[in-house]
Amino acid sequence: MRGLFHKVPLYWGLAIMLFMLLFPFVNDSRSMLILLTQIFIFAIFAMSFDILLGYTGIVSFGHCMFFGIGAYSTAIIFNHLEATLLNFMIGLAIGIILSALVSYIIGSLSLRLKSHFYAMLTLAVSQLFLVLAEKWRGLTHGGDGFTFSVPDVFKDRTSFYYITLISVAVVFILLKLFTESSTGKVLKAISQNEYRAEALGYKSLHYKLIASVTAGVAASFSGALYAVSLRFINTNVFSIEVTLDALLMTMIGGLGTLAGAIAGAGIIEFLRHYLSELAMTYPIFERWTIILGFLYIVVLLVFPSGLAGFIKRINLKNKRKMKKKGELQRVA
């Protein structure tokens, strides 16, 4: 497996995973577990966005729609049927199939054109879903949303924590395998030089569609978990802020690295949590979104390739230093 993992700091991943597995034994504060659960859910969402933007170079302004489709499918099923695990699976499956269909249709309509058509079309369709959720009151209860009950395993904060943690790990491994596969390599190639990839015999439309559907399915999964975590849903899941969150998370973590997307989700969710807590003492922090905006600008100016790119740069610098040292020693 060396070929597959030589670039990935595998030990770091395992260490973090172990720490997260043991965490509930060390600290069982409810709010902390809820916060971490949110981070895991958004980590999946951010990774799915990264497959599009970071790996394939497709810009989407409506990624929230897949998140919302997943969330609403699960919520509506639980609202109408009993709260059992089987029904969760059914809801999840409906969400995933719908997302795959929608992403396939949007993709095949617009991906053969220049990338901003995809961005515009996803934006339009996601707004369409927002309107649909507002107006189809019989099913969605409009903007007020509705609450629903979930299976007991999901109710217990600790067990749900583990479920989401394992979900992140599984999705990460699956997507990692996907990006390291031959299809994943072609995606990377297309993002760098689509013209060349075609000249090599790769039909870029097919690959972009694969990326688009994969991202849609993963986003739908995170949406389903999100709905379950809140036990409540309203039209906010279709709002443009959800897409922007994903964008911010992947940008901060570093485009084109799945681990970066997870780190980005962690940073944003922690900031959001603590900044809004600070607002109780310092009213200025009620406008914490402004601070996120500043953070965004700083990231773009100082670390244009995100956290992952920053770490890579430091590693490279150290390596060069070591090399120089070695050469000097040899000369001496």
């Binding site: 497996m1 070929g3 597959l4 395998l177 996907f178 390291e180 596969s181 031959s182 299809t183 994943g184 390599k185 072609v186 990377k188 190639a189 760098q192 030089n193 013209y195 060349r196 990839a197 075609e198 000249a199 090599l200 015999g201 790769y202 039909k203 870029s204 097919h206 694969i210």
Partner: protein
């Protein structure tokens, strides 16, 4: 010898401007053909037509007796028509090895597998190294393509074409923008490829010494028309070619002259 590529009345016009006019080209398998002609004669456009980057307004292209006129770029590449570009065209942020592996992956019909297979990976690795050796890129496996010297990028392009298992190599000015010291190396690589005998090479080139040295057949393109083709020594003596290539005269006077 059979013809690997034939064009029949191939024409393309941009607006009212005819860029390629009724070109009938027959390319024999295993030969090296050079296309020469003044700037704007339509050489690169002809390449674009052959590889599918643009579609013809009239005429047909036959590759191995199959009509490929309507096929897209990737499909023609899969049939065995590969090309290099006037401006180097590689994947800048992938390593040399990864660049070549992408070509191998395409030629081994490994298009859509979504799980990595280790056996395939190591086989591709070995294959890639063989192509690197052939194109004199040894020891550069893990260098990012963007960090290569210009001449090495050219070699990488050639290696990718070989790895694609192309039968027909369309090389658009492989020595353009390369320093004089690096030219012999490129020349050697092209000669090596030619010696293999498996490939048919079509070359666009301005450096006449190189053209005369390498070519089996010389094709002269002028104002989008096929002016002459045949043995290089004879072609170069042709009065019409001389006037056309040295420029100065109008097309009409050449036709009558």
């Amino acid at each position: 010898m059979e013809n690997i590529l034939e064009t029949k009345d191939l024409s393309v016009s941009f607006g009212e401007h005819d860029v390629i006019k009724d070109v009938n080209l027959e390319i024999e398998r295993g030969k090296l053909i050079s296309i020469i002609g003044p700037n704007g004669a339509g050489k690169t456009t002809l390449f674009n037509l052959l590889s599918g980057q643009i579609t013809s307004t009239k005429g047909e292209i036959y590759f191995k007796n199959e009509n490929v006129t309507k096929l897209s770029v990737p499909l023609r590449a899969r049939r065995g028509i590969g090309r290099s570009f006037q401006l180097t065209n590689i994947f800048p942020e992938l390593t040399v090895l990864e660049n070549i592996r992408l070509a191998i992956q395409s030629s081994s019909k490994d298009y859509y597998s979504i799980f990595p297979r280790l056996s395939a990976l190591s086989r591709q690795q070995d294959e890639a190294k063989a192509y690197m050796k052939k194109c004199m890129l040894n020891g550069k496996e893990h260098v990012l393509a963007q960090d290569l010297a210009h001449g090495e990028k050219r070699k990488l392009e050639l290696a990718m074409l070989l790895a694609l298992k192309t039968e027909l190599l369309l090389l658009d000015e492989p020595t353009a923008g390369i320093s004089i010291e690096e030219i012999p190396a490129i020349l050697e690589v092209i000669e090596n490829i030619k010696k293999d005998g498996m490939y048919t090479i079509v070359l666009i080139e301005h450096k006449m010494e190189m053209v005369m040295h390498l070519s089996d057949i010389l094709v002269v393109l002028f104002n989008g028309e096929l002016l002459a083709s045949g043995n290089p020594q004879e072609i170069i003596k042709d009065q019409r070619v001389q006037t056309a290539y040295l420029g100065g005269l109008h097309r009409e006077s050449i036709k009558t002259g």
